[in-house]
C-alpha cells in the first residue's frame, strides 16, 4: 500500500555529454560552419560503428554508410539509392554531412531532428526494411556491441540508446573551412576572381533568398517553380503536399544545402539532373525568372566549388 504512496514520477534523465559547437555569426547571408568544441568520444565511436553496421538492416546487407558515405559528400552518387533486396528508393539520398544544421530532415522535412530521422530509413521497406526489436536482438548477440554498450555506463541496448549514439556520430559529420567560409570570415584570397564574381551574382540575383545561413540552404521550405515554369518531370513529386495534403505545399521541398554540392550529384530530389550547370540554369530560370549568360553560369558554378569543406577528423 505504501509503495503506491511513495511512487516517484522522476524519469531517468541521464545527463549525456552533448556535442558542443563554436559558432561565429557575421553580417552575411552565408554563415560559416562552426568548429567542434567538444564531443562525447565514446558515444561517437559507438555511433560510428552502428552507422557502419549492416546489422541495422533487415538482411544484413546495407548500413547507414551504404547510402551516406561521409568521405564521398555524405551520399552515394546515385540518382536514387538501393536498399535491401535491391529495391530502389524514390528520392535522391540527401547528404549526411552538416545535416545537423538543417532545420528539418528529409527532402520534405518530415523529421524535425536527426534523432527523429534515424527511424525513417530503418523502417522504410525499400531502405533498411527492419524494426528496432530485431536490431536490438541482433546487437545483443553481437559480442562487440553488447560489450560496447556495457562500457557506456552500463547502458542497455535500446532503440533510444542506439539513436543517441548514431546522432552523436552524425553531429560530428561537419565540413568547416570551406573557401567560402574563409572568404566571408575575411580571407580575401580564399576565393578566385571568378568565384568572387560568382558570389556577387549569387547574392544579386537572389539565390541567397533561399540558399543562406550555415548550410547555404536547409533552413526553410520553398516551392519548386515559384516564379516560372520548370521541367514537368521535376513536378511529379509533390513533396511536402504528400504529408500535409495542403495545396500550398504542392511541390514544396526543404531548400537543400549547397555545402559540398560538387560531390553530391546528381541533383534535385529525384537525382534527375546530372550536372551543376543544368541545375543552376533550372534554378535561375524557374525560381528567379532569369536566363543566365554562359559567363554568369560559369562564375556561379565556380563559386559552388568553393562550398566544399573538409570533414572534421575527431578521433
Amino acid at each position: 500500500m505504501f509503495i503506491l504512496l511513495t511512487q516517484s514520477h522522476a524519469e531517468d534523465q541521464n545527463p549525456v555529454q552533448e556535442t558542443v559547437y563554436d559558432f561565429t555569426e557575421i553580417e552575411h547571408p552565408i554563415q560559416p560552419i562552426p568548429t567542434l568544441k567538444s564531443v562525447n568520444k565514446e558515444l561517437v565511436l559507438l555511433g560510428k560503428a552502428l552507422f557502419n553496421s549492416p546489422l541495422l538492416s533487415k538482411d544484413n546487407t546495407i548500413s547507414c554508410a551504404s547510402c551516406h558515405m561521409p568521405n564521398f559528400g555524405g551520399e552515394d552518387g546515385f540518382p536514387v539509392s538501393t536498399g535491401v533486396n535491391s529495391l530502389k528508393g524514390s528520392r535522391n539520398s540527401p547528404t549526411v554531412l552538416n545535416s545537423v544544421f538543417n532545420f528539418k530532415q528529409f527532402w520534405d522535412g518530415r523529421a524535425a531532428t536527426l534523432a527523429e530521422q534515424v527511424s525513417g530509413p530503418i523502417h522504410n521497406p525499400v531502405e533498411m526494411g527492419t524494426d528496432w526489436n530485431s536490431i536490438v536482438n541482433k546487437l545483443s548477440q553481437d559480442s562487440y556491441f553488447s560489450g560496447a554498450f556495457k562500457q557506456m555506463n552500463n547502458k542497455e541496448i535500446t532503440a533510444e540508446n542506439i539513436i543517441r549514439a548514431i546522432t552523436a556520430f552524425e553531429e560530428t559529420l561537419i565540413t568547416p573551412n570551406a573557401p567560402i567560409d574563409k572568404y566571408i570570415l575575411g580571407d580575401k584570397t580564399a576565393l578566385s576572381q571568378q568565384q568572387v564574381r560568382g558570389l556577387e551574382l549569387f547574392m544579386d540575383y537572389g539565390c541567397t533568398t533561399c540558399h543562406q545561413g550555415i548550410n547555404i540552404g536547409g533552413n526553410l521550405f520553398q516551392k519548386f517553380g515559384r516564379i516560372s515554369d520548370i521541367p514537368k518531370n521535376l513536378l511529379t513529386d509533390l513533396g511536402r503536399y504528400d504529408i500535409t495534403g495542403d495545396d500550398y505545399d504542392k511541390n514544396v521541398f526543404k531548400v537543400p544545402s549547397l555545402r559540398n554540392i560538387t560531390q553530391t550529384g546528381p541533383y534535385f530530389h529525384d537525382g534527375s539532373i546530372a550536372t551543376l550547370e543544368e541545375a543552376v540554369t533550372i534554378m535561375a530560370r524557374s525560381q528567379l525568372g532569369r536566363e543566365l549568360s554562359p559567363s554568369e553560369l560559369a562564375d556561379i558554378v565556380a563559386l559552388l566549388h568553393a562550398f566544399s569543406g573538409e570533414l572534421v577528423e575527431i578521433l
Binding site: 514520477h9 554563415q31 533561399c210 543562406q212 525568372g289 536566363e291
Partner: protein, 782 residues
C-alpha cells in the same frame, strides 16, 4: 458472521485502497502537469522571440533565416513533448504552418521587389517612363495591397508589354514581368498571412494555458491532500480497530489469568497447610524423643531429623505466606506491641549464627522508639529476621548492624530500620531483580548459600502491604544496606522516666570498633562513664588503676578470650565491679565448649538498651569492692594448658612439642597425638617454643611455619644453632608445600614436613620414628 467480524478492518482497508489509489493517481497527474507546465513555460519564452524574428523576415537586412529556423525547431521539439491534442497545441502548430508559408512567400517577394527595383529593363524613354510608373505603382501596392491597384498594375504591365515589346531587353523584361506578377499574385496573400500571424493569440493562449495548468494543479493538490489525509486516517483507524480488538482480547485473557492465579494461590495455600500439619507433628515428636534416653548415634540422627524438619517448615511457611499475600488473604494486624521484645527475639534467633561465623552482629536501637507501638509484630519480626538472616548469610567477615529509629515526617511516624552488612554485595542488575520471587542474586550464590529465594520477595510484599518502603544500597564485595520505612503509630508516647545512672563507671573489653561505638552510645544515653579496652592487657591496666561498677567482657576477642581476662583479674586480685560476660553463645554453651564453669553475670549479644540497663541497675546496688570475682572451675582437661602457664616439668619421653598458633589446629593435632598415646606440650609461637626447649627436652618438634611473634623459619634457624637435626628433629607443619618451599625447609635444617590439612597416617609414620606408639587407633575421625 466471520465477515461481519472483520467488517471494520475491511472498511479501513478499502478506504485506504481508494485513498492511496487517488493519491498515486493525482501524483501521476501532477508529474504530467509539471512536465506540461515546463514545456509551456519554454513556449512562453520561445514564441515571442520567434514572433519578433518572423515579423522581421521581410526586412532587407534580414539576410538569413538560421535563427528563425532554430527557434522553429525548438518550438516543434517542445510541442512534441506535450499533449498534441489540445486546442493550444493545435493553435501553435497552425501558427508554425502559417509561418512556414509566410516565410516562403515573404522571402521571395523580398527578392522580387529588390530585383524589380534594381533591374534596368528599359531602352527608350517611353518604356522607361512606363517602367518607372509601374515600379511606383508596385511599391504603392506593397504598402496598400488592394485589388484595384493590382488590376491597374496588371493592365499597365500588359500595355507596356504590347506597346514596347521591341524596345525592351527581352531577358530583363521577362524577369521584370515574372517578378511583378509574382508580387501581384502573392503579396496580398503574404500580407494577410502576416496580419494573421500578428493577431493569432498564440502567446496569450500559452499564458492562458499555463494559468489553466496552475488551476488544475491547485485542484490536484486538493485531491492529493484528500488522498493523503484519507490514507493517514484510514491507517490510524485500522490501527485503532486492531488495538481495540487487541485490548478486548487482552482484557479477557487477563481475567482468565487472574482467575487461574487465584486458583493456584488457593491451591498453594491449601497444600501448605496440609503439609504443615504433619510437619508440626514430626517436629513435636522429635523434640519429645530427644528428651528421652538415647544412644549417642540415635541422638545425632534425631538432631539431624529435627534440623531438617525445621528447615522444611521454614520453606513451607514462606510458600504459604507468599501465596497468602498473592491471593490477598494476608491480613496485617494493628495491635500494640513492645518493640524491645521484638528486638530481643531477634537477638536470640541470630546471635549464635553470627558468632559462629565470627561476624559482629550489632543492634543500634535508638532510645526514641517508644515502648509500645501499634503494628503487626509478627510481620515486622518476619521482615527484620529475613533481612538480618540474609545479611548474616551473605557476610563472611565484618559485621551486620541493625539500626532502628523513629522518624517523623509531615506528622506521620515512621519506624526506620537499616540493616547494614559487610557481605558480598550486589550489582545494580542483581539489585533490580532482587525482590522477584524464586530469584537469588546469582546462580553461583544460590549454590553456595542455598535457599528458596522467597525470603526477600515476601519481605517486599509485606512491606508493601504495610504501605512501607524498602530501598537498597549496595556495592559488590563491599556490602549492602537495606533501609525499611514502615508507617506506624505510637500506642502511648509517655515513655517511663529514664533512670539516670550518673556516677557509675563502666569498663568495656571489646575489640570490634563498631561494637565499642554502639555500647558507648548506650552508656552516654544512661549518662554513665565508660572506659574501653580492646585487649586484655589494656583492660588489666585500666582495672589496676581504676575502680569500676561494671565490667563488660566480650567472650570472643580476636586472639584472646574472656577467660584470659578473668584469669588475670583473679591472679592479681583486681576489682572489676559487676563482671558481665557478653556473648551470643548461651551461658551453657560457653561452659560446655570451654569446659569452664563460671559464676557471674551473662548478657547475650547483640546488646540491647534494655539489657544494658538491667546490668547497670544491678551494679548500682553494689560497691566495687563487694564484688566477688567469678570462679573458674576446670571441668575436664580437654583444653590443653598453655606452655606459659605450665610449670617446669621433668623430661617426659612421650612428649611432643607442638608449635602452632591456630586453636583449631592445636585441638586436631593434640587429638591425633593423644590417640597415638602421646602427650603434647604446646607453644603458640617460635619464641615460646625456644623458651620451652630451654627448659625441656623433646624427641620431636612439630613446627608451624606462619606464626605471630617469631615464625617457624626463624625459630628453626635459631634452634639449629644449638641443636643438630639428629639431636632435635624438627618437622614443618605447613600448607606451603611447593618444591621451592620444601627445599627451603631442608636448607634451614628441618628434618621433614607434614602437609596441611593433616593426614593422620603421615603424622603416625613420622611420630613412630621417634616414639613407641601405644594406643594405635586408626579409626579416629578428624
Amino acid at each position: 458472521m466471520k465477515l461481519l467480524k472483520y467488517l471494520p478492518e475491511t472498511f479501513c482497508l478499502l478506504t485506504l485502497l481508494t485513498c492511496s489509489t487517488l493519491l498515486s493517481y493525482t501524483q501521476y497527474l501532477d508529474g504530467k502537469l509539471h512536465n506540461t507546465r515546463e514545456q509551456l513555460s519554454k513556449l512562453e519564452n520561445l514564441l515571442p522571440q520567434f514572433q519578433i524574428q518572423l515579423l522581421n523576415v521581410n526586412f532587407s537586412d534580414h539576410l538569413h533565416y538560421d535563427d528563425i529556423a532554430q527557434l522553429e525547431s525548438q518550438i516543434e521539439m517542445t510541442l512534441s513533448n506535450m499533449d498534441q491534442g489540445t486546442e493550444h497545441a493545435q493553435l501553435v502548430k497552425s501558427y508554425l504552418d502559417l509561418s512556414s508559408l509566410y516565410i516562403q512567400l515573404v522571402s521571395m517577394t523580398k527578392t522580387s521587389l529588390r530585383l524589380i527595383s534594381s533591374d534596368k529593363v528599359h531602352s527608350d524613354n517611353v518604356a522607361k517612363d512606363k517602367v518607372t510608373e509601374l515600379k511606383q505603382l508596385i511599391f504603392k501596392f506593397t504598402i496598400t495591397p488592394q485589388d484595384k491597384l493590382r488590376n491597374e498594375i496588371s493592365t499597365l504591365l500588359a500595355q507596356t508589354n504590347n506597346a514596347n515589346n521591341a524596345n525592351l531587353n527581352k531577358n530583363d523584361w521577362t524577369l521584370f514581368t515574372l517578378h511583378t506578377n509574382f508580387i501581384l499574385d502573392n503579396y496580398q496573400t503574404s500580407a494577410m498571412q502576416r496580419q494573421s500571424l500578428i493577431v493569432l493569440p498564440v502567446v496569450a493562449k500559452t499564458i492562458e494555458a499555463i494559468d489553466e495548468q496552475y488551476a488544475r494543479q491547485a485542484e490536484l493538490k486538493r485531491n492529493e491532500l484528500v488522498g493523503f489525509s484519507g490514507c493517514v486516517i484510514s491507517i490510524l483507524l485500522l490501527l485503532l480497530v486492531v488495538l481495540k480488538k487487541q485490548q478486548v482480547v487482552l482484557k479477557t485473557t487477563s481475567k482468565e489469568l487472574a482467575h487461574a492465579a487465584n486458583v493456584k494461590s488457593q491451591f498453594l495455600a491449601n497444600m501448605s497447610h496440609e503439609i504443615r500439619t504433619p510437619m508440626t507433628g514430626i517436629i513435636g515428636l522429635v523434640e519429645l524423643s530427644l528428651k528421652s534416653n538415647l544412644t549417642e548415634q540415635q541422638r545425632q540422627y534425631l538432631e539431624k531429623v529435627d534440623f531438617s524438619a525445621k528447615s522444611l517448615l521454614t520453606i513451607i511457611n514462606d510458600i504459604l505466606d507468599f501465596s497468602k499475600i498473592e491471593s490477598g488473604h494476608l491480613h496485617i494486624e494493628k495491635v500494640p506491641f513492645e518493640h524491645a521484645k521484638l528486638i530481643d527475639n531477634l537477638t536470640m534467633m541470630l546471635g549464635r549464627v553470627a558468632e559462629d561465623k565470627h561476624i559482629e552482629l550489632l543492634f543500634d536501637i535508638s532510645p526514641n522508639i517508644p515502648d509500645s507501638i501499634i503494628g503487626d509484630p509478627v510481620r515486622i519480626n518476619q521482615i527484620l529476621l529475613n533481612l538480618l538472616s540474609n545479611a548474616v548469610k551473605f557476610t563472611e567477615k565484618g559485621h551486620v548492624v541493625l539500626r532502628a529509629e523513629l522518624q517523623n515526617e509531615d506528622g506521620q511516624d515512621f519506624l526506620t530500620y537499616q540493616i547494614e552488612d559487610t557481605g558480598i554485595g550486589l550489582t545494580a542488575a542483581q539489585q533490580s531483580k532482587l525482590f522477584q520471587r524464586f530469584t537469588q542474586a546469582d546462580e553461583a550464590t544460590t549454590r553456595k548459600y542455598g535457599g528458596t529465594g522467597l525470603g526477600l520477595a515476601i519481605t517486599k510484599l509485606l512491606i508493601d502491604l504495610m504501605q512501607g518502603r524498602i530501598d537498597i544500597k549496595s556495592r559488590i564485595k563491599q556490602g549492602s544496606t537495606f533501609t525499611v520505612r514502615l508507617p506506624s503509630a505510637i500506642s502511648h508516647t509517655n515513655k517511663p522516666n529514664k533512670t539516670s545512672y550518673k556516677g557509675l563507671k563502666v569498663l568495656l573489653l571489646e575489640d570490634y570498633p563498631l561494637s565499642q561505638e554502639v555500647i558507648q552510645n548506650m552508656a552516654l544515653y544512661f549518662e554513665t562513664e565508660i572506659d574501653i579496652a580492646s585487649t586484655v592487657s589494656e583492660a588489666i591496666n585500666l582495672v589496676s588503676v581504676n575502680s569500676y561498677n561494671l565490667t563488660l567482657v566480650d567472650w570472643n576477642l580476636k586472639t584472646e578470650s574472656g577467660i584470659d581476662f578473668i584469669n588475670k583479674v583473679n591472679s592479681h586480685g583486681f576489682k572489676t565491679g559487676l563482671l558481665v560476660i557478653c556473648s551470643a553463645y548461651s551461658k551453657e554453651y560457653i561452659q560446655n565448649s570451654s569446659g569452664i564453669q563460671f559464676s557471674g553475670d551473662y548478657l547475650s549479644k547483640p546488646l540491647t538498651l534494655a539489657h544494658f540497663e538491667e546490668v547497670l541497675d544491678k551494679s548500682k546496688h553494689r560497691n566495687a569492692t563487694d564484688y566477688i570475682p567469678p570462679k573458674l572451675i576446670t571441668k575436664t582437661a580437654v583444653k590443653p594448658t598453655t606452655v606459659t602457664e605450665k610449670e617446669t616439668t621433668p623430661v617426659k619421653q612421650q612428649k611432643v612439642l607442638l608449635v602452632e598458633d591456630n586453636e583449631i589446629n592445636q585441638i586436631i593435632v593434640t587429638e591425633i597425638l593423644s590417640n597415638l598415646g602421646l602427650s603434647v606440650d604446646l607453644a603458640t609461637n617460635g619464641e615460646e617454643a625456644i623458651e620451652a626447649l630451654n627448659h625441656n627436652q623433646y624427641k620431636l618438634v612439630l613446627m608451624d611455619i606462619q606464626m605471630p611473634v617469631l615464625d617457624g623459619i626463624e625459630a628453626t634457624k635459631i634452634l639449629r644453632q644449638q641443636h643438630t637435626n639428629e639431636e632435635l628433629p624438627i618437622y614443618a607443619l605447613t600448607a606451603n608445600v611447593t618444591e621451592e618451599d620444601i627445599n627451603n625447609y631442608t636448607k634451614i635444617g628441618m628434618n621433614g614436613h607434614l602437609s596441611k590439612p593433616y593426614e593422620q597416617q603421615k603424622i603416625r609414620e613420622v611420630v613412630s620414628l621417634y616414639y613407641q606408639i601405644t594406643n594405635d587407633n586408626p579409626d579416629l575421625i578428624i
